[in-house]
Symmetry: D3
Subunit: 132 residues, 6 copies
């Protein structure tokens, strides 16, 4: 049990570490369009007329129907940090499932698995402040 | 001006009429799976842990990144009926644009055009209670 | 009624005429890869281990989940010519709807509308022997 | 040789175990729409006007053009159980490849690899009765 | 003949007019993320390490495999303005067709039709300087 | 450091080995359409009106917006062999990112990681002459 939880946190740690290391690596390049896109992507989810929680829910359902596991994981973590409850998470999944169809199911399995993992972790989970 | 508005309402009326007529036509067939899917699609957006407004916003952004004009039009109308303001609508579009990229822009143009049209209409606009 | 049917046949005639004219136009170009692709596409649906009817059903469901109206119309016509009954057509739609989700519904409406139109036509309907 | 086959069955076993465990996990949640979607997905592939074999072939080609490895693996296993021969399987792949293009090739490689693996297994292979 | 050319220019004129009017309309809204995205989209195709011609070819093939008619039309016009020859255009289409599959064919037909139309026009064709 | 590079080359070697082994496996089947598709895919990227370098850049951006990691890796390697510089590679990524949106970012991370790996390798890298 404890070993399983440790193994899980390990996977999340690796996922987070890779995302952050590669984001840094990408931004080291002298390419202004890419840099501005990353900056815009961060700005996009900030508090506006819609609050952070709503925007993260929008980012999650969009990632789900486009079937991007990394994006789904990222937004699941962000949603959780923004106060989305497990029941609310399931209703976001429900909309993604209906709109996107059964092809979404494998991503749903991994999303629920990821959610289980971060809920089983002792501390904060996935570090934010990095594009998708 | 008044002629333009009339022409617009005419397009929306045709769009709504076709959707409702064909939904009825589809459901006339003796196919239980299709019928149940349509029923489930209606159930999906009903008040739950998330309210109707939030669910319609989720449906809209999902439709936008999957680039389905008819679905976008439908959810724009539903969002408006659920009280989504124009500024909120733009922030939903903003998330869809960032997640989905410039390929979303033509659909964004048609979404804003559709929104302008239903706001210019005298009465309620697009009839609800029909799947996507 | 008769006027409606005439208007419908007119739309199908235009759709078929455009497809054939542009296919011819494309193949006039001196581009061997494009020509071979078109030839391969025709070969693909010929009788093999699977018969034409089964292959056309596969082509139809693939077109439906990829949400390409022209491809759906083409394969609906081909399926009909290959002996797919209306009930069978609906079960193909059912699989496409479940796999692809509610985003498929607008294409389903147009597919059923197209099917109604070719069934209402006096004669053979959409000419085959042209890629998608 | 024998070691390779053992390693393969191990991967299939893990794949099947994860799918079933997470399906169960998802259905534990009190979300009626998700549960009904899963039930409908099971109903969708049952004997109807089209038989199970044809429906599984439709599910396979749809999964292939939508490029979902897990769905492809699942339907390859189901197709095999429904009596689809290897030559027929290749013709399904052929339609998916033509419709979906070279972007499908990596998924085709994994599909053929998966098919080789389940054919090399001593017994029944992937357990059915679970959505995609 | 002359009537057909006139009708064609009329369609292109309408397409261009709608794109420009709605782009302006979108940018009137007080939404900084959307505005910045549009600016970034314009910056993206400017001369850089890769010249404008190459970038427009990249934009065209990306639009083709993502099957967006408006984006394809826009980049066909931009490519032509950047000096892409008809034979080069066909080789871009060839790559898009192989990568994206037969589902791309309907978009290819409309792309070649559009190219024929702008080549038949007396003057410059589609106005640039507007996102996609 | 040296250990990291060795581990990386190992991953690339496995990726290349699997692709080539499975391509051979697929082509062993007696299916003429699949074989011709593979031949056509090879022909597609040969020197024509557009040179190999340009065609590989087109293949790369198409793979990126369709979000296929294996195809991206393959074309990154081919691009490098065709003389695409790192700055040019970044501008191809830039177009893919703008057209395809933030959903492309996870694939971009893996693309840059892959590029770093093949640049760190002692010799030629990924073997060509195999479809995608």
């Amino acid at each position: 049990m404890a070993g399983g939880a440790r193994r899980m946190s390990e996977r999340i740690r690796q996922f987070t570490e890779f995302r952050q290391r590669m984001n840094t690596r990408i931004l080291e390049h002298d390419n202004q369009v890419v840099r501005r896109f990353f900056a815009l992507d961060t700005q996009c989810y900030k508090d506006g007329v819609l609050d952070v929680k709503t925007k993260e829910m929008l980012g999650l359902v969009a990632s789900l129907v486009l079937r991007c596991d990394d994006c789904v994981s990222y937004h699941v973590a962000q949603c959780r940090q923004a106060g989305v409850s497990r029941d609310e998470m399931l209703e976001i999944f429900q909309v993604g499932l209906l709109v996107g169809g059964s092809i979404v199911i494998p991503h749903l399995r991994r999303a629920v698995d990821f959610l289980d993992q971060i809920e089983a972790m002792p501390a904060a989970g996935v570090a934010p402040a990095a594009p998708d």
